[in-house]
Amino acid sequence: MKLENVTAEVRPRGRWESIDFGCALVRESYGMIVKTLLMTIVPLWLVLWLVLGEISFALVFLAYWLTLPFVGRVVLYVLSRKLFGEEVRVWEVLKQWPKMLVRRFFHAILFGRFLPSRSLALPVSELENLKGKDYSARVSLLDRNGGDGAAQTAMIGWLLICIAGVGLLILLNLLMPFSIEIISFEDDAFWGDETGALIGKWTVALYAFGALLIEPFCVGAGFAMYVNSRTITEGWDIELAFKRMSSRLERRQSPVLQLPKQKSTLSDTKSLLVPFLLLAASFLMTSSPMASAENAETTERLEKSSQQLESLALSVDGTKQPMTESQKLAREVYSGEEFQVHAEMVKERAPRETSSSWSWGGFDDFGGMAILKAIFGVAVYVAIGAFVLFVVFLLVKNNYLFQRRTKQSSQNLKKKRVESVMGMNVTSESLPDDIVKAALEAWSQGEAKLALSLLYRGAISWCADHTSVEFANSDTEQDCMRKLESLEEFHQQNYFNELTMLWMSLAYGRQIPEDVSLRQLCSTWPFSNKDKREEGGASL
C-alpha cells in the first residue's frame, strides 16, 4: 500500500463533508463492492436463511442483523485498497473471506455491532489490527473527532435501509401486472395460518436487500470519518503531499532554481545545459562536446528507434562506452513525469442543440440520411393509415353500440327489470290484471296472506315499471321502502309505507290485519296499470 498513490482528495473536512466523501468513495467502486458482496455475504445469508428459516424467521433476521459487521469488513477491504490506488480482484476478497469471517468473530458481532459509532471503529480493528487497550484508546480518540457523526450515520443508515426495503416492495408491486399482488391484505388466504411466516420471510428479504444497498455507504462514511480524523490529528494529507513532493524532487535530482545552499550533483557548466536537455534529445547529443565522437552513429540509431531516448540510452550502453554525464542527466530528465506521454480521455457533453436543428431538415447534411428520411416518411404514412383502419375496424366491430342507441327507445335502454323481490315473483305477467279485485276475493275467502302479497307484489311491480327506481333481487322490504323514499317523483309514499308495514307484520309477525285497513288499502289503490297506461299514452 503506497500512501502517495491515494486516489482521493484527502484534506481536513467537516463532519458532513467527510460522510459525503465516504459516499463518493463507495460510489466510485460500487460495482466492485456489489460483486464482492454477492460472492461473500450473500451465500452466507442464503445458508443462514435455509438453516435458521426452518426454525423461525425472527432468528434469521437476528442473524442477518448480527452479521452486518462482516459486510463492513468486506466493504472496508475493497475501499481501503481502492483509496490507495490498488485494484482489488474478486478472488482476492474471496480468499480473504474465511479469515474475515473467523477473525475476532465475537468482537465483530458484539462490540462491532452494538457500538453506536461502530463504522468509525471498524477501520481501527480491521486496518490497524489493534486489540484490547490500544483499540479502545484509539476508538475513544477517534470518537472525539467524529463519534457523533458516526452515530448519526448509523441512525440515518437504519432509516435508509427501511426506506430501501419498503421502496423495493413498492417497486415490485408497481412492476407486477395489476392482477397479481405480492402481498394482498384483502386476500383471505393471507390472514391464514401462514401469515406470520410470510410476513417474516418478506421482512427478512427486504431487510437483506436494504442492508446490502445501504450498509456499504455507512461503512464508507465511517471509513471517511476515520481518515478525516487522522488527517486532523496527524496531518495525513500533509504526509502524503510531502511524500509525493519528495519522490518528485528526487527524480528531478537537480533543482531548477539554483541556490547556493542547495547541494548539486552537477557543475555549473553542465547545469547550464539543463534547458537544452529539456528541449530535444538529438540536438543535445550533437551539441554535447563529450559525445561528439559517437555523433554519427548515435544519430542513425536515433532515427532507427524513432528518436526514443530510452532506446538511445540503451544503444549507448550497447557500445560499452561509458555514458557521459549529460547523457545520464538526459536520461533522467526524460524519464521524468513531464516527458511521459499522457493520454487523457475527456468526456464532454455535446453542446445542446437548439430545437430548430431537431427538424427533419437537419438530416439533409448527411448523405445516406435522405433514404432513411424517405423510408421514415413512408413509415409515417403507413402508421397513420394503419391507425385509421384500426379505428374503422373498431367502429364496425362495435357497431351494436350505435344500433342500440338509434333503434331502441330510451325505455328499452333501461336497466333490466327486476323479476323477483324477496323470492316473490313481481313480473306483471304473474299478477292478475285487476289486482284489487283478486285481493278482495282472496280476503273474503280468508286467505289474508295471499291478499296482502298480491297487493304488495302489485305495488312493487308497478313501481318497477313506472318509476325510475331499480330494485334488486336481494332487496328486502325495508330496502324497497328506502329506495322509493329517495325518489322525488314518487307521491304514493304513505300508501306504500302502510302497505309494507301491514305486509311485514303479516309475513314475519303472523298478525292478520284488520278488515277495515285492508279494505281501505283496496279502495285507495293508487297503482292502477290502466290509468297509468292511459296517462302514458296521452303524454305520448
Binding site: W16, I19, C23, R244, M245, P255, K261
Partner: protein, 241 residues
C-alpha cells in the same frame, strides 16, 4: 505515479467553470445530510399540521364544521405542497430542516435556483419519495453530484451553505523567511503552508516525522527540520514585490 496523478481524484467538491474561465467549486451535500434535513422537515410539517388542526378545531364551533374542514384541507394542501417550494425559492434557498443542517439549494452553476427550478424539483419530490422511494434513494446516492431525479430534471444541486472552519493551531517559530530552494508545485506549497497552519495540533515527534518526509527540502534533523519548514512557509506566504 504518472498514472495516478493524472486521474481526477475522488472528491466531494465539484468544479464548475463559469463564464470568462472562472472556476468555482461547489461543496455538494450528500445523501446522509439531506436525509437528516428531510427528516427534520417532516417533523416540522407534522407539528405545523397538528397546530393547524388544533386551530381549526377551535374554529369549528364558531364557523361550522363544513367550513372548518374545508379550510383545514386548503391549509394542509398549502402546507404539504407549498412548504418546500416557498421555503426553497426564498432568500436562503432552504427549508428549516436544510437550514439547521446547513444546506441550501442552488442551480448547477452555483447561482440562486430559479423559482421554476425549485418548483420542478419539488414536484418530483412526491414521485420520488412517495411513489418510488427506491428510485429517488438510488439516484441520490449514485449520481456524481448527489442529485435526486428532481434535481437532475430541474438542474439544481444541494450544497453546504457555509464553510465550517476546521480546528487548527499554527506553529510559530519566529524564524526568518527562507526560500525552499526548489521550484514547487502549487499543491506542494500549499502543503508546506498547511504544515505551519495546523502543526500546533500535533506532538513534537509527529511534527518531526512529517518534516522528515520532506527531507529533500530540509537539511536539519527533527526540530530543526520543523523550523526550516516553517521558515519556508513564512517565505511562501510573505508578500513579494
Amino acid at each position: 505515479m504518472a498514472r495516478v496523478s493524472n486521474q481526477p481524484k475522488i472528491d466531494t467538491l465539484q468544479s464548475v467553470e463559469l463564464s470568462e474561465g472562472v472556476e468555482i467549486q461547489l461543496r455538494i451535500a450528500g445523501v446522509f445530510a439531506r436525509s437528516l434535513a428531510y427528516l427534520l422537515d417532516l417533523v416540522f410539517i407534522i407539528i405545523a399540521a397538528s397546530v393547524l388542526g388544533f386551530i381549526v378545531g377551535v374554529m369549528d364551533s364558531f364557523v361550522g364544521s363544513n367550513y372548518a374542514m374545508g379550510l383545514y384541507g386548503l391549509l394542509m394542501f398549502i402546507l404539504t405542497w407549498g412548504y418546500f417550494f416557498l421555503m426553497e425559492s426564498g432568500k436562503k434557498g432552504a427549508t428549516f430542516g436544510k437550514r439547521i443542517v446547513g444546506l441550501r439549494v442552488v442551480n448547477t452553476s452555483g447561482g440562486i435556483a430559479q423559482r421554476g427550478q425549485v418548483f420542478t424539483r419539488n414536484l418530483f419530490r412526491f414521485v420520488e419519495l412517495v411513489i418510488m422511494p427506491l428510485i429517488g434513494l438510488c439516484c441520490t446516492m449514485m449520481t456524481k453530484r448527489f442529485q435526486r431525479a428532481g434535481d437532475l430534471v430541474a438542474g439544481t444541486v444541494v450544497v453546504y451553505a457555509e464553510t465550517d472552519v476546521q480546528p487548527s493551531v499554527a506553529l510559530n517559530s519566529g524564524r526568518e523567511p527562507r526560500p525552499p530552494g526548489w521550484k514547487l508545485l502549487r499543491e506542494e506549497q500549499a502543503a508546506i503552508v498547511a504544515f505551519r497552519e495546523r502543526g500546533g495540533l500535533w506532538s513534537g515527534a509527529r511534527q518531526a516525522e512529517l518534516a522528515s518526509h520532506a527531507q529533500v527540502l530540509v537539511k536539519g534533523e527533527s526540530s530543526e527540520a520543523v523550523t526550516e519548514l516553517v521558515g519556508m512557509a513564512e517565505w511562501l506566504t510573505a508578500k513579494k514585490d
